[in-house]
Amino acid sequence: MNPPALQIRTGSRSRPWLRSELLLLGVLIVESLVFARTGTHFATVGNALEILRLSVEIGLLAVVMTPVILTGGIDLSVGSLLGLCAVCFGKLWRDGGLAWPVAALATLGIGGMAGGLNAVLITRLRLPPLIVTLGSLSLFRGLAEAITRGVDNFTGFPPSFLMWGQGYFGGVIPAQAPLGIAVMIGVGLLVHATSLGRSLRAIGFSPEGARYAGVPVGRQITVVYLLSGVAAALAALVYVARVGQAKADAGTGYELLAITAVVLGGTSIFGGTGSVFGTVLGVATLAVLRNGLQLSDQPGELAGILTGVFLLTVLAGEMAFKKYSARRVASGMLQTSTASSKPASS
């Protein structure tokens, strides 16, 4: 076994995302300190919980987007699927006459099926995830609009359902918070503590390499897109419960917010490296930014500008680090690469 000092050194080298997480944590602390000075009632427990309440939907999407991006894929359809699931839930409850828990279960099934559709197209037809989910982005939103004919708005949900988006446990903890935290912990364990999570990274680094190692690549990619679909359905339920209505335009643009949070959290868009913790920090950074600017009476446009600045800064930092470590790795691989570039003449 190695001396502990050695393990610490090599350990940090194999987890470059730790750097972006620390960077992001710094950003989060700095912005909180700034808003604590400029914002009215920013630095209160009540406001912190309010931020948590408002971030659960994006949080669900972003947390489950993390394993998708870890495999080198992407799911652009989650925002549209949130809209589709919202109106499906409304339709099943109001026009289908189902009790809301039954309608909610059915909605989760619809989300899973939609994710399964993405998965089949990606694994069976070998289409790039970007194209497949770009297509299903339009498809799901279009279906949502077809169901409501663009005008229908489902409202009047029973209080026992609305409670999950508007209620508080003990009058303090937002009702949807435990749900979001449970999913976060679940996906965190899946990604970091299971052999499935390890295989997902292998696929992200090198799908062919994973296949040659006997990893059932297609099956595992199917799992992450299925999860993504179910998470979108779950987010739809929380969304409808929070705003009290279900329209076809629910969740428009959420996919981009979720992806921004994931990438901000240090997950490489090329797959392989990343962490759920980073994603959670990413979601928090974005949510605090919006909330803080609001409480500081700043225009909402500033949030967009600052989000862009944060994202580009983190990406530039990641790239610089990659170049640095690539140079270090290259010095070790130099001999190999030149030797193998000698073609066995034939």
């Binding site: 999570g197 390890r198 390499g209 190692a213 073609p343 003449s345």
Partner: protein
């Protein structure tokens, strides 16, 4: 756009005999080139005359590709001189080579598949300025002219993707001539052609020779050398064995195929290989009539016993890797039967192969053998997740113990189990790729070019490891283009050619016998 075509108009006044064009268009002396520890060329001299077809012959790895890459300007030699048309050339890069009239036609034509034939030819011939005006009419007439000159019946308007491989080669030749090439290198141009296409290509080559173009022709097919070449240079281990005229003054063959094979192989198998120990055991794997249309493998009959090393020899493209991929379930078989320890089994995925106890260390180590970005420990355990982590939860302690054990047993030099495999040297990466499969405790281990790109020291270590595994009762299939390695390591040698096993030779067979079988020639019987 004005093309200078004067140099290509056949000179009616000259008979075209070799004697009248004896000046060398290309002369290389003492060329040396190393890649790390591998010396690909060791003082090779070579010359090419105008109006001759000069064949370049050698085993896999003899240095042919390196030599033509030096001529094409892709590799800079470490030492040696290069003269083109009598003028010494100090630095040759691809652009300079192109300007000097050197063109290289590779096995896989490098054309733009979505553009038309005329556009492809036009792109090569027009001056490479940042902005260019394209005159489609002139582009087309120019393409028609060059295609006509080489006798190719190809429509200039068809998209290149619609053309067959030989047609694409003809387009390449048209491009080369259009660009004023006087030295044309053809790297195994016939490897994917049918007999009729070969004849058409030969007609074009002979026509080029009449026009005074110097042609370097690389092929594994000896009969082509006799049919086409004026002279032949044989390379072996990066050195030139010699340059010989193919025909004597009475136009009779001056060489025999047996002589050529002997020159190509011509060395003793080094005694550095570890000796075999013990007799082989039971048959582990037995396949009959095995085929996979997608992989180009057909009617393979083969048996592997525990404790033996079965060498799989053959030229590149003979189907050795393809056969391994079928056995490992990467491209599942669509005909024939696989028996594993006497039982008929189906292998439809690597997972099923692993479940049976079949392991495959692939040829392309960096893309398939390891995951460079992942730590050594994670690479070592990637194929045993199901047994090492039975509940699906990672067990870092168990993983650390297993990784530590194999790092020690294989002598993997690494900063630690958490160092990414990409930071290791080639030989140590190969040990990780091997270790990943030894961890699975396989019954059959297929090794595909296990020592390619590995330095000499690590090569010896890997040979020792392989021999030790066989001594412990593992069945090993060893695929290698390094003939001495196959001869030195194998208890039996299966020779593949054209997607099937043509013969199984006993251990201790001569290099000539193996080469002859791989080339499809009757053995010369004299041995080496």
């Amino acid at each position: 756009m004005k093309l200078n075509t004067a140099h290509l108009i056949p000179d009616a006044g000259v008979s075209g005999s070799v004697a009248s064009r004896a000046e060398s268009v290309l002369r290389l002396t003492g060329l040396t080139k190393s890649f790390g520890a591998v010396r690909a060329l060791r003082g090779v001299s070579f010359d090419l005359k105008a109006g001759e077809v000069h064949a370049l012959l050698g085993e896999n790895g003899a240095g042919k590709s390196t030599l033509i890459k030096v001529i094409a300007g892709a590799h800079a030699p470490d030492a040696g001189t290069l003269e083109v048309f009598g003028h010494p050339v100090d630095r040759l890069d691809p652009a300079t080579a192109h300007r000097l009239g050197i063109a290289c036609i590779y096995q896989q034509p490098a054309l733009f598949p979505d553009l038309t034939v005329a556009e492809n030819i036009g792109l090569r011939l027009e001056p490479a300025t940042a902005v260019r005006w394209i005159d489609p009419v002139q582009q087309k007439s120019c393409a028609v002219e060059w295609l006509r000159r080489i006798g190719a019946e190809i429509s200039p308007d068809s998209e290149v993707r619609e053309l067959s491989m030989p047609e694409q080669q003809l387009v390449e030749i048209a491009c080369a001539l259009g660009a004023g090439a006087r030295i044309v290198i053809m790297d195994e141009p016939t490897s994917s052609l049918t007999q009729r296409e070969v004849e058409r290509l030969f007609a074009v080559v002979r026509d080029l020779r009449r026009q005074g173009v110097g042609i370097i022709y690389i092929s594994h097919r000896l009969e082509e050398i006799f049919a086409l070449a004026d002279r032949v240079t044989v390379l072996r281990d990066g050195e030139s064995v010699g340059t010989f005229p193919v025909r004597d003054s009475r136009n009779q063959p001056a060489l025999t195929e047996a002589e050529l094979i002997r020159w190509m192989v011509g060395r003793e198998v080094s005694q550095l290989y570890p000796p075999a120990t013990g007799a082989p055991g039971d048959i582990v794997l037995s396949v009959s009539g095995l085929g996979c249309a997608a992989a180009g493998v057909h009617s393979v009959d083969l048996q592997v016993r525990s404790g033996e090393i079965l060498g799989l020899a053959g030229l590149v493209g003979a189907g050795r890797t393809e056969l391994a991929r079928v056995l490992f379930g990467l491209t599942p078989a669509d005909s024939g039967e696989i028996r594993w320890r006497g039982r008929v089994v189906r292998i439809r995925s690597p997972r099923e192969a692993i479940a049976q106890g079949i392991a495959y260390v692939p040829e392309d180590r960096r893309r398939h053998g390891v995951i460079l970005e992942m730590p050594v420990a994670h690479n070592l355990t990637l194929a045993v997740h199901r047994t090492l982590f039975p509940g699906g939860w990672l067990l870092p302690k168990a993983e650390g113990v297993l990784a530590g054990e194999w790092i020690g047993r294989l002598g993997i030099k690494t900063d630690g189990p958490q160092a990414p495999v990409g930071s290791l040297s080639g030989g140590n990466q190969q040990k990780v790729a091997l270790g990943r499969w030894l961890v699975t405790k396989p019954g059959l281990l297929i090794l595909d070019e296990p020592t390619q790109g590995v330095d000499v020291g690590a090569k010896g270590e890997i040979h020792q490891i392989i021999r030790g595994l066989a001594a412990d009762g593992l069945a090993v299939v060893l695929i290698s283009s390094d003939l001495p390695e196959v001869l030195g390591m194998s208890d039996r040698i299966a020779v593949m050619r054209g997607g099937t096993v043509v013969t199984v030779l006993p251990g201790g067979s001569t290099a000539s016998a193996v080469m002859a079988a791989a080339l499809g020639q009757p053995p010369d019987g004299t041995g080496v």
